[in-house]
Symmetry: C2
Subunit: 326 residues, 2 copies
Amino acid sequence: MKKLTCLQFFAALVFATMAQAADSLPSWNDGLAKQSIIAFVAKTTTHGSPDFVPLAERIATFDNDGCLWAEQPMYFQAFFIFDRIVALAPQHPEWKTQEPFDSVLKGDVTAALAGGERALLEMAMATHAGMTTVEFAKIVDDWITTARHPVTKRLYAEMVYQPMIEVLAYLRDNGFKTYIVSGGGIEFMRPWAERVYGIPSEQVIGSSIKTKVEMRDGQPVLVRLPEINFIDDKEGKVIGINQHIGRRPIAAFGNSDGDLQMLQWTAAGSGPRFCLYVHHTDGEREWAYDRTSHIGKLDKGLDEAVAKGWTVADMKRDWKIVFRHQ
Amino acid sequence: MKKLTCLQFFAALVFATMAQAADSLPSWNDGLAKQSIIAFVAKTTTHGSPDFVPLAERIATFDNDGCLWAEQPMYFQAFFIFDRIVALAPQHPEWKTQEPFDSVLKGDVTAALAGGERALLEMAMATHAGMTTVEFAKIVDDWITTARHPVTKRLYAEMVYQPMIEVLAYLRDNGFKTYIVSGGGIEFMRPWAERVYGIPSEQVIGSSIKTKVEMRDGQPVLVRLPEINFIDDKEGKVIGINQHIGRRPIAAFGNSDGDLQMLQWTAAGSGPRFCLYVHHTDGEREWAYDRTSHIGKLDKGLDEAVAKGWTVADMKRDWKIVFRHQ
């Protein structure tokens, strides 16, 4: 058998991997974004490649809102909060004369959110605490399988980005552990993350409230408390990754400035690195927003992506479909 | 082929598994403890068994100090703290006139610990904070590969219990994910847990201090702060398991009352459950202590183990060897 030069070997490798990956990323248009993903996986997973990464170090982290599923016109967890307020209202007659609950019950979300973060936090605590972890998981699971998005009328779990689902599976097929690292609630994502994304509970990192152990009928239960434990956003994503994983990802995916620190942290490691920003450019199939958006603002991150040569996935240009139902 | 009755099937299964497991747990004497481990693994991992547990749910949690490695005459992390104080003393001339540091530098550990938890915490913060996470990992790694136990003169990583190493490997060979859930520092265990126990960083849960992100030379680093973040002991073990894993273990291993809540939490789930207490009964090969010990006190837990029928591994009776070097 003829010996190949190193360059021939690598060219053959990328070609073979491209051919194989063509089936793995069918919702991606051919282009730089798709090629960069495939090239990164090829060089990090092929024995003999100078950039080969051992299995244990193949860690990839993904933001959730706006990266794996949509986040417009509002974070989906906010809709969950509003739906819970409506569901719990009969047990809280006092809410009828108490903002921001009163406005939610009247269907006036804008007024409810006029109180800013404080109001949202108050509503989050009123709906996310006071029950056991098992009870809360059941509430989330019931909601995710029945509630529908106000604009598309689809189940929220149908509002996930098909091209990103393919990236998750493609990475896992190549020995990567895929993690969610989200500003959203850790216990809000876990009940459905495995079913929808193939990501098990222990690979979900998010914001959390405190819990305490109580004995009920001689058995311990974990009760959710109305007190912030951890905010997994911006610098918090780096802290959360270190706390949960204890090693630096080699690949990170985000869509907003809130993910910038996670991407910087990932890029700052030695050896091969991959950072990708999903850029919301498709106002027809999804929503178009970036530098001035109140949700998922992507401004500094976009500049840094260009400066550092990170991959930017332009939803309009790079994705054949956004959602599976399209 | 002759059809087997259900009982015949299960008997054949346990027999076959026993034969196979005989090689997996060679440091365990035949007896109830060993049999209970093998029977649990057999029934939870064999398709067709009424107690079969899917791969994703095979979570086993292990305390570290006194369960996977020794904890006498003091928690090994305390020796690390003292060694660090000696190493750092040249940069801290003020310690010569400042308790508890002065006593440590004079080699008087008893006097250093006279200040109780407050003194220990002060020493922990002085030695565990003020550097980046990468720097701290390097410090721990240097220590664990060179420092020696004051009584046995062995490396601390040689003070691990060989029978428990076998249980870890046996469970993993049968599809379990093995976790450490320790009151010890999460970042103190991670640098060597994979090498010594085969447990990767992301499966280590422990106590932690806070960290913050700083930019140095345009790159983010995580700096360790002298502030408690989480104490992973007693109820904290349940909270830590829920936070990191997000599902209930089906097997839990401990050795003290500090592990009781973890075992209760594990036992309280539905389906097959396994709880094991390591009982320190061997004053010759290791140390003998339980109900009145200041370290690794096992009192309520021992009563509950008997009452609930949990497995108690009697080190003297059940273990052929304690350490590999015996």
